[in-house]
Every structure is written in structure tokens, then in C-alpha cells.
Symmetry: C3
Subunit: 354 residues, 3 copies
């Protein structure tokens, strides 16, 4: 980061209860106590790291008001009610400087159809393409090289990073954050096989993204065969996720990186899928169900349950089986031994067979 906070600026921003020591350093980074170097700010967010304060090389350290130690030379302690909250205040300030809201308006290099409806408070960055009939709401920002297809609609207060693609007729709500390379509205993957060829089934539906969704870099969500592929409000999706046509994702779900959801499946609210998990088609994942990473989901999951493995089993069962699985070599040996002993026993008991 090229940020630069002086000690005085930090004191002014964070309004500590007290300070201890002093530093002439300009703060350009935030780092964990043990990783920090001169010029960094660090913090004691979790009491278990208290022993690391004494050795930290950070120039500024956020500490709870009752912290007892003394700073090193050229080190400033800021004693605050809640170091985590103070850090959050600082981070929000830095975030605002990282992503300053650009001035509204349309960059002269953007290619915007005459009948597109761009709110005067929206920002259309350089080399964006906005096709006929598309709408962009107030305070939305298209960073650069974004594509908005025909009749697509973007709500208010959205941020689309560079290289986002929103295809024809798709709809995005308010305060949606799309990272670079996201593709919304590519055709669903549907064919009918006829005389040895795969004949395309028209994919004429939409993608609809509700408010307050965030979608990670290079994630793809396909348009519906008809009707809509739908992502509910507040859901957060990581990078390189694939969501197939006609999928419904509920509100406030968490989909970790590289998850894949096959066509026509439904995730109810508050579902959490670990990284690289896969969901087969036409399933229902109940409210609040969770899975571990790499889980293979080939059955409906009841609400509130936790799953693991491929194909998935209830988490505790899968864990137990994974432990037993490691003992398979022993088990095979043990059974062989038992068989031998039993055979031996039968031999030494001639009457047994009579």
C-alpha cells in the first residue's frame, strides 16, 4: 500500500484513551504482531497473542486500555477500548482510499448505446460497452472494460470491477459487488441428443441477482433455460464458482471458491458450501445446511445438517469412517488371522465336524 499515516493522524482518527511512547515512523502497512516490521501498525485483537506484544517490531500497536507493558524505542502504543473496533475504523478509512468513489459520468472511451439509460449519478469507466436498452442505476460504478448486454438492468450503488460481463436481459439489484471477470448470463448447458448430435436447447431465461450480493473473480452464473437463475439477497460467492441454469440460491448463503452447482438445484437460505464442493442437478439443499470442502452432494440435504465426503455423508459419520478407513490394512490382517485361528481350531477339534 502507498498509504502513509503519521502518528498524529492515527491519534486523530482513532481517538485513543491514552498513548504510550512515540514514533517518528510513517505507517504504510498493517500486520500481525509477529510479522510486523518498522513502519507497520499492529494490534492485539485476541488476548492469546499478548506475549507477542513485547517482541513486535511494529511502530504503532493498538492495545486494550488496561494493557500493562511499555513500548520499545520509536514505538507508539495506542490504548483503546476495543483494538479490533479501532482496527476496523482504520481499515474502513483505508478501504475508502483504495476504492475512492469516482466522479459520476461516462468516460469518453466507453461505447454506450443511445437508448441505454444511465443514471446521472452513475460512473461508466473507460472502455465499457453498454448495449441497447440497458439501465444503470444511481451511484453504480463500472470500473473499466465492463460489458452490459441488451436490456440488462443494474440497480443502485453497485460496483462492477474491470472485465465484468453481464449478458442480455439479466438483472442485478442494489449494492451488488462483482469482481473482475465475473460472467452473468452465459447460456445454460442444455442439449438434446438426436441421431448422434447434441442439439442446443435455447436458453432464453435470465440471471437475477438480488441486493447486497458479492461475487468473486471469474465466477460464472448461467442464464435459465426459461424463467430465471436466481441469487438471493445478501449471498456471498467466492471466485471461480459455477452456478448452472435454473439454479435458485437463497438469501445469505456462502459459496466458497470453485464450488459447482448443477442445473435446477435449489439452495435455501443460509446454506454454506465449502470450497470445491459440487451439487448435482435438481436437488434441494435445506435452510442452513453446510458442507465441508470437496463435498459431493448427490442427494437432498435436510435443513441445518452438516455434510462431508463424496458422495456426502453426515459429517460425524464421514469423519468416523475416515478414521476407520485408515485402519483397513489392520482389519484385513485381523480377519485373515481370525480365519486361520478358526481353521486351526476346527482341525484340533476332530469331534467338532462330526
Amino acid at each position: 500500500m502507498t498509504l502513509a499515516f503519521s502518528a498524529d493522524e492515527l491519534i486523530s482518527l482513532l481517538a485513543p484513551r491514552a498513548t504510550r511512547g512515540a514514533t517518528a515512523a510513517t505507517i504504510g502497512q498493517i500486520a500481525a504482531l509477529k510479522d510486523a516490521r518498522p513502519g507497520d501498525l499492529s494490534f492485539l485483537g485476541n488476548p492469546k497473542y499478548k506475549p507477542e506484544v513485547a517482541a513486535t517490531r511494529a511502530s504503532v500497536v493498538l492495545l486494550p486500555a488496561d494493557f500493562a507493558g511499555e513500548p520499545a524505542p520509536d514505538q507508539l502504543f495506542l490504548l483503546v477500548d476495543n483494538p479490533s473496533a479501532a482496527l476496523a475504523t482504520l481499515c474502513a478509512r483505508i478501504e475508502a482510499s483504495l476504492w475512492p468513489r469516482p466522479a459520476p459520468g461516462i468516460h469518453p472511451s466507453a461505447v454506450v448505446a443511445p437508448d441505454a439509460v444511465i443514471d446521472p449519478a452513475a460512473t461508466i469507466g473507460p472502455l465499457c460497452v453498454i448495449e441497447s436498452g440497458a439501465q444503470i442505476g444511481p451511484f453504480s460504478v463500472l470500473q473499466a472494460q465492463v460489458f452490459i448486454g441488451r436490456q440488462a438492468r443494474v440497480g443502485a450503488g453497485c460496483w462492477f470491477m474491470s472485465g465484468v460481463h453481464l449478458a442480455t436481459e439479466c438483472v442485478v439489484g442494489d449494492r451488488v459487488r462483482l469482481h473482475a471477470g465475473v460472467v452473468l448470463g452465459a447460456d445454460g448447458f442444455g442439449y438434446e441428443s438426436s441421431t448422434g448430435r447434441h442439439v442446443k436447447i435455447p436458453q432464453i431465461g435470465q440471471v437475477v441477482i438480488d441486493d447486497d450480493v458479492e461475487i468473486g473473480a471469474n465466477t460464472t452464473i448461467d442464464r435459465a433455460r426459461f424463467s430465471r437463475t436466481h441469487i438471493g439477497a445478501g449471498t456471498k460467492i467466492d471466485n471461480l464458482v459455477m452456478i448452472g441454469h435454473n439454479v435458485t440460491v437463497g438469501r445469505h448463503c456462502i459459496l466458497c471458491a470453485q464450488v459447482g452447482i448443477s442445473g435446477s438445484s435449489t439452495l435455501e437460505d443460509y446454506v454454506v458450501l465449502g470450497g470445491q464442493a459440487g451439487v448435482a442437478g435438481h436437488l434441494t439443499i435445506g435452510k442452513g445446511a453446510k458442507t465441508d470442502g470437496q463435498t459431493g452432494i448427490n442427494t437432498d440435504l435436510a435443513p441445518g445438517t452438516f455434510w462431508k465426503g463424496s458422495p456426502c455423508l453426515p459429517y460425524q459419520l464421514e469423519q468416523r469412517i475416515n478414521v476407520l478407513r485408515q485402519r483397513l490394512p489392520d482389519l484385513f490382517r485381523k480377519v485373515d488371522t481370525l480365519a486361520a485361528e478358526l481353521a486351526e481350531l476346527k482341525k484340533t477339534l476332530p469331534t467338532a465336524g462330526v
Copy 2:
């Protein structure tokens, strides 16, 4: 969708054998019987859903000619020979309106090398880049922000959606549909390790895509070390698939989302790989072989076989083992019991050991 069909327009388009009832609604969506709302069109494509017709709220319903029920108020039944075929007719009409063929020509914002050969019937959309010596065939459409590298060749009747990248020297046949963010012709992943460093092996081959291939959003296909990475005619590839260098994919294969194929493997015709399946390098997957999702293929697969699991086993065997796997806790207990019983038996038979 912003589409709007009146009842009369639908009757005119679909030419039903008979109609029953009437609606004043304008049809803007297609939906399944149970999901449909007023203003939607629905259909009875599969007899098993017949009980859902009575309760559907769709304004227009496509039904087989011999259907017996009566419509609700403000509901129109269209009785046709084949509801699925009628639906397909309607969908094709809608699809044509979603993706109207743009006028041919080169958008003034595109950057086209003077020696690129663009057919006069091709459409080069806004902010495309076409490098030296590249060729674009008749009736091909590059939607927007597409990149075509030096000496690359694109056939006739292709659609490349926004943000497609076709690298230097790669070749695409006729009627190929590439979705947003597809990358064809990045370098294959090849290094020789020497004195602790990975030295790049030049990747000087091509990617060659034959006719009638469709490739999903953000899929990547790497150029060959030399010669070609080759995708056969009629093959359909979903989103976020990775195909390594020197891979050969046959004709009419289906590769579901997030599949990965390592370098130099060969898929014969009509291979079907489920989502997130992975193929190791230098393997041959026989004609018509299939795998389930998340399958790990580390061996050649015989033609016509069906596989599951990682590492993969024949589908039926893998299914059976997955059932037994869940009974492992029981098996371990049972073996312990047997061992105890046998030990007990030996104890109570002092002569046995003599």
C-alpha cells in the same frame, strides 16, 4: 425478459389444433406448471405432471390435443399435437429476439490490424482487437471486447461473446459458439526443472476447434507444446473447464462444468465427463465412456464403460463399495466381537490348544 406475447400472437405463432378459455394477459415469461404466475406461459411436456395443470396459475398452457380439463378464469389452453415441440417453436422465436444478428461491419471503436482479413458479412463489435493476419469468416459475430491474436482464424457463422480471447495462430471452425471469458491458446503448462528452477518449455503449437463446438464461460484450452490441442466437431464444453496442452477431444463429447483434462490425454468420440471430473495426463478415454461428477480418472477407460469415484472404479462397483463403506463401523465391531468370541471359545476348550 422484456418479451410480450398476446394470446393472439401465440395462437398465430403456434397454430394450435384448438383453444379453450381466454386470457387478456400479456405473456412475458415461461415457467413450469407449479411455478407459473399470471402472465406466464406453461406447458405439459411430461404426462406425470398432469395433476399440476388444474392448479397452475399460468395464463396460457400448452397441452396435448386430447387433454380433458377446463381452464380457470382468465386462462387460455392451447391444444397442440406436441406441447414440447410447440414450446421449442416459441423458444426459438424468443431466442432469435434475444440474440438478433447484428448488422455486418466493423465497429469504429474496434482495433483491427490493416492486414487482418474480415469477411464483409462478419460483425466485429465494439472494442474488439484483431491482430495482424487474423481471419474472420462470413456471418461470424464478435460481440464486444473480443481479442483475436496474430494469424488466428475464425470460420463462418461463429458467435464469440464479450471478452473471448483467441490467441496467436489458433483456429476455430464454423458455427462455433464461445461464451464470455473463454481463453483459447494460452501456453501449455510445461517446464523442465534444472538446478532448482523451472525452465519454460516453449509452447509453440495451436488450439484447433472444429465445427459446431460450444464452449462455456471462462473455460480455458491451452495451446500444444507443438502440433495441436484439438476439439472435435459437435463437442459441447461447459463453464470453467480446463483442457491442457496436446489434449485431443473427439467428436460429440460432453464435458460438464469445472472438468480438468491434463496434458496429452485423448478423449475419443461421445465421451461424457461429469462436473469437476479430472483426467490425469497421457490417458485414453475410449469412445462413449462416461463418468460421474468429481470422478478422478488415472487410468485408460475402455469404450462404453461408466466410472465413478476418485480414483475411479466401474460405476456399479463404486456404488456398492460406497454402501459398504457406510457399514464400516459395524464391520469393525463385528470383527472385534468375533475375535472375542473365538478367544473365549479357545479358553473354554482347554483341550483345543493341546
Copy 3:
């Protein structure tokens, strides 16, 4: 390839010890002995393929100096000290023609902030966007449609292919090769859940890529929560890989396609992860540790170890268990038989139970 080498040009370039035969063909491709067609060049790099030389249809064949056979009509043998080295010489020559260094300068269609610092020896291709304060070093090439965010820094001698996205404040060293669609610096995936909503944790750190790294198409590396997500020098990353926030990847690692690494994990130097492997968060993978494809890593791995399976086990153990796993149906049967035999034995030994 549109390359064309005459026999004389090849002789001039490769300086063979001797030649045998002759060809009038113009060489446009390189191919394996068994795949080669007239007009191709082939080579005997591995003695085990020696029997294929007699049948090859290649017009030119690179052979070891002591090779005994005779060429076919219109076929030229080039006898060299080391056919693989001669091939490498040829490939390097072809590579240079595939990726000729473009003239330095800024394409007039690029949108470059007035305060960006572009070295006069750098090449900024068409339709690139370079935001305020960004720096591009000498001899670096941005092919086309590349995005460089505010204050981002790119070193010397880099190649960024079309459609690369480097976000605000991220840093790339020297001789880094990024393939099309790479996204560096999207927000890390971090939220705090509060009253049923996921509240975004600001992601204000960087991505830092050291020298001589290569990153494959559509791979994404997220910026740190604070401090940095870091890729060490000489590491090679394949396509569609996902690296989460605050990950540290050491020097000279190899990450195959579709690998996913969760937040805050550390890979030491020379780690090798097979395709589609997944690493959970906050783990340490020791120096030189390796995994097979699709491995699920949910524990720290000791240096120099080799792993397989999900969840992973030491490679040899996992292999053994996979063999035994296939014998589970037999094991269940055997245990049932033992139980029956034991029960029978007890029955025939009435005294045993006394």
C-alpha cells in the same frame, strides 16, 4: 502454425553433423514420429521410439548421430549430437516468431492516466486501461485490453496477455508472464456474520508477485485482508487456480490447474500440488511436499512428504487403502462366513458354552 522452414533453413539453423536423404517439403509443423505427416518435422528424443522412425511420414527427422537407418523417399534425416537439444533450438526460434516483441510505446486506443509512469521501453497494447499512479517497467508488454489499477506496479520484462486484470496497489516483479484473463487483487472472501447478515471485512492488503512467476489463464489471486498475498519467485501456476487472501506461496512451487488454496495458508518452497487439489485455510505445507491430483489437504504437511486422497493420507498408505477398498465386498462376505462358522462350531460343541 503458418511457419515455413525449408530444408536448407533447418540445416542452417540446426547445423547437423550429417544429413541423409532430401526433401522438397516446406516444414510447417512439429509432430511425434507416429503422428507426423508430410510437411512435418519429427525427432527421436527417446530411444524407445526408435522402431517408429522407419514408418514415420515426417519430411524431416532429427536423429542421433549414430542412427543407422535410411530415409524414405522425399525424407531428410538430420543427424545431430542431441535431437532434443536441436528440437529445443528450433522451438525457441519458432517461439520468438510467435511472440515477437512489439515496438515500445503506448497504443493510441489505450486509456492511460496522466500520472501513470510508463517506461519508454514498455509496450502498452490496444484498449488497455492504466489507472492513476500505476507504474510499468521497461520491456514489459501489455498485449491488449489489460487493466492496471491505481498505484499498481509492474516490473521489467513482463508479458501480460490480453484481458489480464491487476487491481489497485498490487505489485508484480520482473519477467512475470500472466496469461489471458488472470485476475490479481480481487477482494479476499471475508465476512463477519451478524444478526443474520454477512458483513464485509475490508480487504485492504495487496497481491505481491515476485520475479519469474508464470500464471495461467483465468487464475485468480485475491488481495490480503491486510498485508499481502504473496507468490514467491520462480513459482509456476496453471489455469483456473484460486489462491485466497493472505496466502503465502514460496519459491519455485508448481500449482497445477484448478488447485484451490484457502485463506492464510502457507506453501513453503518447491511445493507441488496436483490438479484440482484443495488446501484448507491456515495450514502450512512444508518445503518440497507434493500431492496427487484432487487431494484434499486439511492438515499441515511435513517437508518432503507425498500425499493423496481426500482427506489426504501419505501416498503409499492411500494407495494401499484404495486397493483394499476394492476388496471390501469380499471382506464383508468373509466376515459373515467366519461368523457363521463360529456360530456353527459353538453349536456342535455343547460343552463349550458350559
